[in-house]
Amino acid sequence: MSSLTYIFKRLFLMIPTFFLVMVIIFLLVRMLPGDPAIAMAGDRASDADIQAIRERLGLTQPMVVQFWLFLSNTVQGDLGRSILMRSDVTTVIVDRLPITVFLTVYSVVLSLLIAGPLAFVAALNRGRWPDAVIRTVFQVGLSMPVFYIGLVLLTFLAAQLRLFPVGGYGDTFGERLYHLFLPSVTVALYTSAIIMRNLRSAIIEVLDAEYVQFARAKGLPARLILGRHVLRNALISTVTLLGLSIGNLMSGTLVTETVFAVPGMGRLMLEAIFARDYPLIQGLTLTFALLVSLVFLMTDLFQSRLDPRMRLQ
C-alpha cells in the first residue's frame, strides 16, 4: 500500500472519530451550568428577550434536531456566530489558528533542539557527572508548573532585562520568532524534559543492543554508529511520546498564550469559556481535536518511515 492510500484511509477513519468528538462537545456544552441565552442576553434582558434568543439559537427544539443542525452546519463549515467576537466562529478561528500553530511548531522545534543533544550527552556519559547535572536540571524544570516558569522568564528576561517583548505577536517571520521566543521556550522546557528523559533511556538501551555491538565489531566509524544505528532506533519510542506531548502542548497553549498575551486560539478559548460563548467553545474544541488528530497521523506516518516493520502491507 502506498503511503498516499494510507493517508486517505487514515483520513477516512477520522470521520467516526470526529462524529464522536462532536457528540461529546454537543452534550458537554449543554451540560454546563448556566443558560447561554441568559448569558447572551445580558443582565437587563426580559424573560421574553431570553425566550426569543432561545428560539433563535434553536434551543427550544428537541436535542436530536439540535444535534442534527449542529452537525450539518459544521460539515458545511458553518460553526455559528461568536457572541463574544460578534463575527463568524469560522472567521475568528481562521484568524487565530496560524498563531497557535506557529507557537506549537516553534515549541516543538525548540524542544528537540534542547532535548536531542542533551539526551545524547547524558546517555553517553551515563552515571557520570554530565548525566547527573542534566537529569537534575530537567527534574527541576519538570516539577515546576509551566505558568510559573513563564512568569519567571517574563519578569526577568522581558520586564527587567528588556531582552524580549512582554507580549504580542509580530508581523514578519523574524518578528514572530522574536515575539514568540519566550512563550515557546516556556513550553519547550517542559516538553524537552519529557523528551530528554525518554530519549536518554532509549539511547542507553540501544547502545547495549546486539546490533550495535555488531556494528561496532564491524569497525564502523563512531559517528555512523551513533547516527545511523543508535539514533534511529532510539527515536522510535520517542516519536510516539513526542506526538502525545504535542497534543498536551496544545492544551498548554491555553496557559502560555494567556500568560504571554499571545492572541492565539488558547487565549481565545479561555475568553470564550469565561464569556460562555458556546458556539466559539464548540468551534475551538473541534479545531483543537482536528489539530491533535493530524499530529497523531503525522506521528504514525513518520514512524512508519522510520521503522520498516510498521509499514502496512
Binding site: 546490533y211 555491538q213 555488531f214 561496532r216 565489531a217 569497525g219 564502523l220 566509524p221 521503522d307 516493520r309
Partner: protein
C-alpha cells in the same frame, strides 16, 4: 588476558589469565557452561569488552597488541581483519536498515570499492552464503528473513571485508536443529576457502568434535584444559572436562535421568581462593582449596590446570 567488570565499587574478574593462540586456518573450540567467560573472551579480543570493563594483558594480532590500541586504530582491524558473528540472528541485525546497507557499510568502512562495486560485492557475498535471489533481497529488511537466513546474512556481513580471523559466538544456538548443521558447515567451508582462523564458542561438545582442530575448556573465567580436539575429548584430564563429557547424553535408554556436574559454578564476586572447581570436584585434594592450580603443559600440546588430573584410564572410563 584478563577482563574485569566493575559493579558498585566491586571488581568482578570475568576473565583471569586466559591465554591461547589461533593460527591461520585453524578452528579453535571454546567450550564451557554459561557464564564461564566464553563470550567475554571473544568480546575482549575484538575490543567490545573495553567499553564495559577493564581489559588487561595482551591480545597479540600479527605482531601488534590490540588491548592498548586506540579506538581509531582498532577500527581498522575490527571487521577488516577480525570479524565477529553473534548468537542471536533476530537481534544482531539492525531492524531499521536494509541488509544491503548493513553489508555495504562494512565495505565502505574497509575497502576503496566504488558504490557500484560495493553493491556487486554485496550480491556476491549473499550468493556465497546461500541466499536465493540475492540481488532482489538487498533491499529487504531483516524481519523479512527467517532465522537461518538472517544468520547467513550476518555471516555475509562479517566476512565481506575478508577478515583473517572469525570469532563466532554460539552462532547456531538460537537456530533450529536442522539449520544448525547447515550454518556450521557454511562457516567452516568459508573459513577453509578464505584460509581464515575461527574461534568457535559453543557448549555443544558434539559440534567441537566434528569441527574443531583444538579446544579450550573454560571454567569460571579461566581455561582449565586445552589441546587438540581428539586428545581432549578422548582422554579428558581435567575433572571438569570429564564432567562435561559425561553430561552429553549418549546411547542412553529412554527415561534414564541425565547426568549433570553436581553443584553450580561460583559467582564472580565469591570465587574460592584455590581452584574454582574444587567445591564441585570429586577428585579434590587438600591443595586444591589452598592454591590455584596453574595451567601447565602435561603432554605434547596439552595443558591442564589441575593438581590431581584424571589419568588416561579413568578418562576412558568416563
Amino acid at each position: 588476558m584478563c577482563t574485569t567488570f566493575h559493579r558498585t565499587g566491586q571488581a568482578l574478574p570475568a576473565l583471569r589469565d586466559v591465554s591461547f593462540s589461533v593460527s591461520q586456518g585453524e578452528v579453535l573450540g571454546l567450550v564451557g557452561e554459561s557464564g564461564s567467560g566464553k563470550s567475554v573472551t571473544l568480546r575482549s579480543i575484538i575490543g567490545l569488552a573495553r567499553r564495559y570493563g577493564n581489559v588487561t594483558g595482551q591480545v597479540r594480532w600479527q605482531g601488534r597488541d590490540l588491548v592498548g590500541m586506540p579506538d581509531r586504530a582498532l577500527r581498522q582491524i575490527q571487521g577488516r581483519e577480525i570479524a565477529m558473528i553473534f548468537q542471536e540472528p533476530m537481534t544482531s541485525l539492525n531492524p531499521l536498515l536494509t541488509v544491503g546497507l548493513q553489508l555495504e557499510e562494512t565495505l565502505h568502512a574497509h575497502t576503496d570499492l566504488s558504490k557500484v562495486a560495493r553493491r556487486d560485492r554485496a550480491i556476491e557475498m549473499l550468493n556465497l552464503v546461500g541466499i536465493p535471489s540475492a540481488k532482489q533481497r538487498l533491499k529487504d529488511y531483516p524481519h523479512q528473513f527467517s532465522g537461518g537466513m538472517r544468520q547467513r546474512v550476518m555471516i555475509a556481513i562479517a566476512l565481506a571485508a575478508t577478515p583473517k580471523l572469525l570469532l563466532a559466538d554460539e552462532p547456531t544456538t538460537a537456530l533450529d536443529v536442522t539449520i544448525q548443521a547447515q550454518i556450521l558447515d557454511l562457516i567452516l567451508q568459508l573459513a577453509q576457502d578464505m584460509d581464515m582462523g575461527v574461534v568457535l564458542v559453543t557448549h555443544d561438545l558434539g559440534v567441537v568434535a566434528q569441527t574443531c582442530d583444538n579446544v579450550a575448556v573454560m571454567y569460571a573465567g579461566r581455561i582449565v584444559e586445552q589441546g587438540p580436539v581428539r586428545g581432549v575429548l578422548k582422554h579428558p584430564r581435567h575433572p571438569y572436562t570429564v564432567g562435561l563429557m559425561r553430561s552429553v547424553p549418549e546411547n542412553l535408554p529412554p527415561r534414564t535421568s541425565l547426568y549433570s556436574v553436581p553443584g553450580v559454578p561460583p559467582s564472580l564476586d565469591a570465587l574460592p581462593r584455590g581452584c574454582a572447581f574444587a567445591p564441585r570436584c570429586a577428585a579434590c585434594v587438600a591443595s586444591c582449596e589452598q592454591d590455584r592450580p596453574p595451567l601447565s603443559l602435561i603432554t605434547e600440546g596439552r595443558q591442564v590446570a589441575c593438581f590431581n588430573p584424571v589419568t588416561n584410564e579413568q578418562g576412558n572410563a568416563a
